[in-house]
Symmetry: C2
Subunit: 389 residues, 2 copies
């Protein structure tokens, strides 16, 4: 096990009417003038935005709004938010939505207190040492950003999709997690969210660090729980208990607990980030394509951990690591397929992938080698993209 320092100070308020505590929780952060950040309008149509505004107003908080954050959020919205924060002397942010709204709010939270360009944090030129307090009312269980200190933003110029990781600076102060707010999430988005959280766990599971039985078992347990609950939410979108289990899994998948004491992989995420930056596909759908391709490569080159997953999570009994790994991958693909997700680039709508562009951008953003479990060269990342064809 590796040495680590780990702290998750986010308060998770979970359950019925959780969002009603947002006013009181926001006040406790010291914020009095709050920018509400949200996405493409579903929170307006559902009435949630008005509801949350009323809750904040009842607590004596003055609210401002920044809507229109797109999936795979981009930098212009961040600059727009920073300008509003400075102009209106805003002292706190509340993201109402999913990962895109939260990640945009995080970028604004640190960018508004920094004299330079917020992008400096994302390309590694500066370390975040302060940020405005941020709260979350979650509507999409997927990205896990409500419990993480991370944020992913795409810079339109050059389509660079970069992730920023902080220890605690960008962890939300609180996250209101009401399973009922996820009832109306369409099946495809639900399935993409489930895939995203599963891959957040797998990126940590596929670790080169030996002797990590505790986090291996936590990861395997979460994956099994998700795979038990997923068919229920797909069949019954208003099944509160199943939605609750999926929601909580999504937070635990990415708040760091499964990664304590181990190096992580993240090659699948980085490879998917290039896909979604170039082709604007939904992140979870892209992962359903890329991750099994990555695992298939590993079955040939470093099967041990894929085989352990196959045996412990998918009940594969084959004693040959390569064969067990391949059987496990087949089971995982079958599961993704049962959720209605694509399994190939073609099914994702990318008929003539520009492999050269994807590989160039990937290694331009991430360096000569990619991945922690196995360091992939350009030749190898291209091979994985092609395995996904």
């Amino acid at each position: 096990m590796n040495d680590f320092s780990f702290c998750t100070p986010t308060r998770y308020v979970f359950g019925h009417d959780a969002e009603k505590q947002a006013g009181e929780l926001m006040l406790a952060t010291g914020a009095r003038r709050v920018l509400i950040v949200y996405g493409m309008g579903s929170v307006i149509r559902s009435g949630l935005l008005d509801h949350v505004k009323e809750i904040l107003h009842s607590a004596g908080i003055v609210t401002f709004e920044l809507g229109g954050v797109q999936p795979n959020p981009t930098d212009p919205k961040v600059y727009e938010g920073i300008e509003i924060v400075r102009r209106e002397e805003i002292d706190g942010l509340l993201a109402v939505g999913g990962g895109s709204a939260i990640d945009t709010a995080k970028a604004i939270a640190c960018g508004a207190l920094y004299e330079g360009d917020f992008w400096d944090f994302y390309c590694g030129k500066k370390v975040v040492d302060k940020a405005l307090p941020l709260g979350v009312v979650l509507t999409i269980p997927a990205a896990g950003s409500e419990g993480s200190g991370n944020s992913v933003i795409t810079r339109l110029e050059g389509l660079h999709k970069l992730s920023l990781r902080t220890d605690t600076a960008l962890r939300p102060k609180f996250a209101c997690l009401n399973p009922e707010l996820t009832f109306t999430l369409p099946p495809y988005q639900t399935a993409c969210g489930i895939t995203d959280m599963m891959v957040h766990i797998l990126e940590r599971y596929f670790s080169p660090t030996p002797d990590v039985e505790v986090t291996d078992r936590l990861a395997e347990g979460l994956l099994m729980a998700i795979m038990t609950e997923a068919p229920k939410v797909m069949a019954e979108p208003e099944n509160y208990e199943a939605r609750a289990n999926i929601l909580w899994s999504g937070t635990l998948a990415h708040n760091g607990i499964c990664g304590t004491g181990r190096s992580e992989d993240w090659a699948s995420h980085f490879m998917e980030h290039e896909l979604s930056a170039v082709y604007d596909v939904t992140h979870g759908a892209g992962l359903a394509v890329i991750t099994p391709a990555w695992m298939t490569f590993m079955a040939e080159h470093r099967p041990a951990k894929v085989a352990q997953l196959a045996r412990r999570v998918f009940g594969i009994s084959n004693t040959d690591d390569r064969e067990a790994a391949l059987e496990g991958i087949a089971a995982l693909k079958k599961f993704f397929s049962s959720l209605g997700l694509p399994l190939t680039l073609r099914e994702l709508g990318i008929n003539t992938p520009d492999y050269r562009l994807l590989v160039d951008k990937l290694h331009e953003n991430k360096g000569e080698f990619v991945g922690g479990y196995y360091r992939l060269s350009r030749k190898e990342t291209e091979e994985i993209y092609r395995l996904a064809e």
Copy 2:
């Protein structure tokens, strides 16, 4: 799943030389005059106390000491600590040791800022709303107090052993977790610690709350990890990796993550608290006796969750719940026995248990009914004590 509000702000610093960060971490809490609380002298003999004092002094912190905290810690030491804190204008505490030192430090941390008797918090007359900042350098993985907001103290007058639970008020600000500091823990203490952490998980696992697949799987995963690593630490006390996995399990077993969204049981702990208060047995050893007895009672009266544990953790394939439960209990007892632990009151050295006294004190402290999974009457708790004979 039940609604919940959950926050674990403790910073866990884990690994080689973790204690070296105690000075800097203590300074970050604002403390400058720190009371070091420790136990019966092993930290003096090992040199750890002097080492920690040097670390704090190098950070410019003035230190004071309160040693001699006994296992099953009692109130006189708390009053002594509160007096020192007030007299010396101490503004922070550092517990160096295991659960007894930490729980005593927690009682002092809240008691010193309260005008009345600290015991008011333990018997439920007052709620803790403020406490001095507390840090931990852990030497015994067992109680999990380094990551919890709880504390257990025995009042000598009447031998009342009561537990205080807080949301975040008594959670340590930081915990330094260095597996090497646990190398010298004797086999019996190691085994008792392993049992304690396993039962912390089981108390949460045995829940009347339905639809808690996520926390069920987390609990099962942690139990499996502990049972994989335990034989290694028993055979090789200086196996860093195995000690590390056990240490981290002990914290996660009790920081609340396995209890999110569910009612818990705690009957085994309450019943054991009376045993250790009256007969001064080691808590973990008492649990190795009481918990299987409690489970045996449940196999007859409410076997479902015991059977699930038996199947998922011990690989029992019996489809009859009662039979599966009994087979699982036999496997658990075999595991405890392999650690060298007693399985009966007699093996624990209690040849003529005063059942009447135990039951009277249990229900006097905890009310007419005990336990969340199954509410036990006096008649039933006596039956369980007798099952442990």
